[in-house]
């Protein structure tokens, strides 16, 4: 059995769940800055409060799976993305404590909401910078990152960063479309109408620019034209369907289609860089740990992941339906 491949699939699974789940949390956070009504802001934060922690845990899961299964790649990529990662971690921290602290702050809630919003935006942008840096490629010497920590800040990475941010805002708008009533629902519809076409345009621009800055990407287009073409087609169709569903009777539909957009994006990225773990530099087999490490990780994951998914779904079920106007009662 190809253990490194299985571990890579598990890490990709965790990363995809992270992007989709924390994506809508971060999107709601970013939209917070566009909402001037404090009571509606309370409602927005309330809609994600009971479940955000579990969503963010998938980021740790993906990171730690990389450490366990591909320690060589982990030791190359983390120093390479030192600056955006540190900024992302601090921003996520600021956003994370704001959930509790904005509760406690009586007069200073607005300040914590600003911290919440900027924390979400910076975290999203930094994740985009990292994806951009991955596609452009990092300098590697043996098992060591040999470039500069500033390499990641390039115009192309900025394009990816903005795409990720706007994409998360689509997810966040979709989530509010599902959870909100009255005024806030109107706010969600307006933001979806604005962000969805911008996201599609940015995504197309990113794909075009990627083939330009990274020959490996154009190679992938030549070797997998059907799969990547199909993904692109589905992406555009899902975006069109999303636009149609805004304001419709099925409150869940825009959110689900937003998730589909991100799943397709992750799949496209996966097809492009496979089988590399340090894109266009090192394959996952070259970076893998010895097999017993994979065995331990995979047995643990196979047993525990279904349980995790079950009680996470239960938690979502407990807080299903519209977010109450009065906040979650204790």
């Amino acid at each position: 059995m190809d253990l490194p491949l299985l571990s890579a699939l598990f890490a990709a699974f965790a990363l995809s769940l992270y992007v989709m789940l924390d994506g809508f949390d971060l999107g709601v956070g970013a939209l917070l800055l566009a909402q001037s009504d404090e009571q509606l802001r309370d409602r927005m934060v309330d809609s994600i409060t009971p479940t955000w922690d579990g969503n963010e845990t998938w980021l740790i899961m993906a990171g730690v799976a990389l450490l366990a299964a591909f320690p060589i790649a982990y030791g190359i990529l983390l120093p390479a993305f030192y600056l955006p990662l540190i900024a992302m971690l601090l921003a996520l921290g600021l956003r994370g404590v704001s959930f509790e602290f904005r509760y406690q702050a009586e007069s200073g809630r607005q300040a914590w909401d600003v911290a919440f919003g900027f924390g979400s935006i910076i975290a999203a942008l930094m994740q985009g910078f990292i994806v951009g840096g991955l596609i452009r490629g990092v300098a590697v010497d043996g098992e060591r990152f040999s470039g500069s920590v500033f390499d990641v800040f390039q115009p192309f990475s900025l394009l990816v960063a903005v795409s990720v941010l706007v994409g998360y805002m689509v997810l966040g708008g979709g989530w509010l479309h599902l959870k909100a009533t009255r005024n806030l629902r109107g706010f969600a519809e307006r933001s979806l109408r604005l962000t969805t076409p911008v996201f599609v345009a940015l995504a197309v621009a990113t794909c075009a620019a990627a083939s330009y800055v990274q020959p490996g990407v154009s190679d992938a287009w030549t070797s997998h034209p059907v799969v990547l073409g199909l993904i692109g087609l589905l992406f555009l169709s899902a975006a069109a369907a999303l636009m149609q569903a805004i304001g419709g009777p099925l409150a869940l539909r825009p959110f689900l289609l937003g998730l589909v957009l991100f799943a397709l994006g992750v799949a496209g990225l996966g097809v492009t860089i496979f089988p590399d773990i340090v894109p266009f530099r090192m394959t996952l087999w070259q970076a893998a740990s010895a097999s017993l490490s994979h065995v331990f990780l995979l047995i643990g994951a196979a047993i525990v992941t279904p349980v995790v998914l079950a009680y996470s779904a239960f938690a979502y079920r407990v807080f299903r339906g519209k977010t109450p106007d009065t906040g979650w009662e204790l």
Partner: protein, 457 residues
Amino acid sequence: MNLDPALLARIQFGFTVSFHIIFPTISIGLAMFLAITEGLWLKTKDPLYLQIYRFWLGIFAMAFGVGVVTGIVLSFEFGLAFAKFSQMAGPAIGPMIALEVLTSFFLEAGFLGIMLFGLHRVGPRLHFLATCMVALGTLLSASWILSANSWMQTPDGIEVVNGHVVVTDWLKVVVNPSWLYRLPHMLAAAYITGSFLVAGVGAWYLLRGEHVAFGRRTVSMGTAFATILIATQVFIGDILYQKMLQLQPAKMQAAEGFWDKQSESPAPYYWIIVPDQEHQRNRFALGTPVLGSIGLTHSLDGRVEGLKNTPIDRQPQMGWVFYGFRVMYGIAIIMFGVAVASLWLRWQRRLFTTRWFLRLLVVMTPSGVLATLGGWYLAETGRQPWVIYGILRTIDAVSPVPADALLSSLIAFVCIYGLFGTSFVLFAFRIIRRGPQDALKARMVYAPVSGNPVPAE
């Protein structure tokens, strides 16, 4: 200015991990306290327990939040600051932390929302289950992370092939020689920390004559738990001490403050030293005569081994190790005294009225946190110069990241964590000043639209 990246990486990791451990220590302790309190509420139907639960839930939620976000940083910092360590030890450390995420982080996160906001949605029994799952999650988390850290202290079950760790026996990696002793030590420390927090706040109310029923019940619970736990901890600590003497002699040599291969006889017990690592001596030392022989060798004239038994290039810095140990041990002695006094006063039925004792409890409120930090300084600085004891030196583990980047991130961490810490303390003080009667309202400030908050049960 020429800055050493290795030193900066260590300061950054030391700062972020020290700040982090405060919050899990509190939340491990409080989670268990909350589970017990809710269990008592379900069993006795006494609404006072529900009030205690709700009051401490607010502080728990904040501590948990800060613990989560500062913990995420650590899971990436292995690679950010110590890339070589990650590449070498990832095959052993990584799967253990992955299992920690799977078995505990998700468990905590999944049930935390229900614990905080779900009582009326799922009913008391399922809510109690959620509280227990969160408490279990904190316990499992401690278990895995102690396993990973103990493996770095006493690595086992591996071989090193081409500079990479290859696991040969997972059982030996997870159940490594020091884990079985260090895990109960840390759990007891966290539960003691929670007990003193609870007792200290209750005592503060009793001194002010406010919320008397709440104050009495929590002082009673806090001191009772603290008494049982500190008595247990004395045993665990002693066994761990003997074990570490075998497993990491250099650490324990540094911890007692002696340099010469054999100390004088009878040996004093040092309280204050000014070590001079370069000349392998103390510039100044103050101690109690003969106590060292009695305490450390269980005889009247025994000699204690000093740090010169370890070659200079394998010695930890004595000052950090010694004072880490003294802070932990000194506080433990005072805690033991408090526990004995509480038993006596309880028997005399004066536990809630003896003002000097209540004042002492208030002073002791953060004592568990300080003792735990001291213990971790002993453990971590005493392992130096190794990051994986006997296998990889800390200096060889550092990332290829320039000093400027490390310095900038260190400054950013200090600023942002300063904000987290200050806000946590200020908000915790505010919750305490408001009092348990407002505990419900404090979480219900969200309800301006519908008017009055839903009353408690």
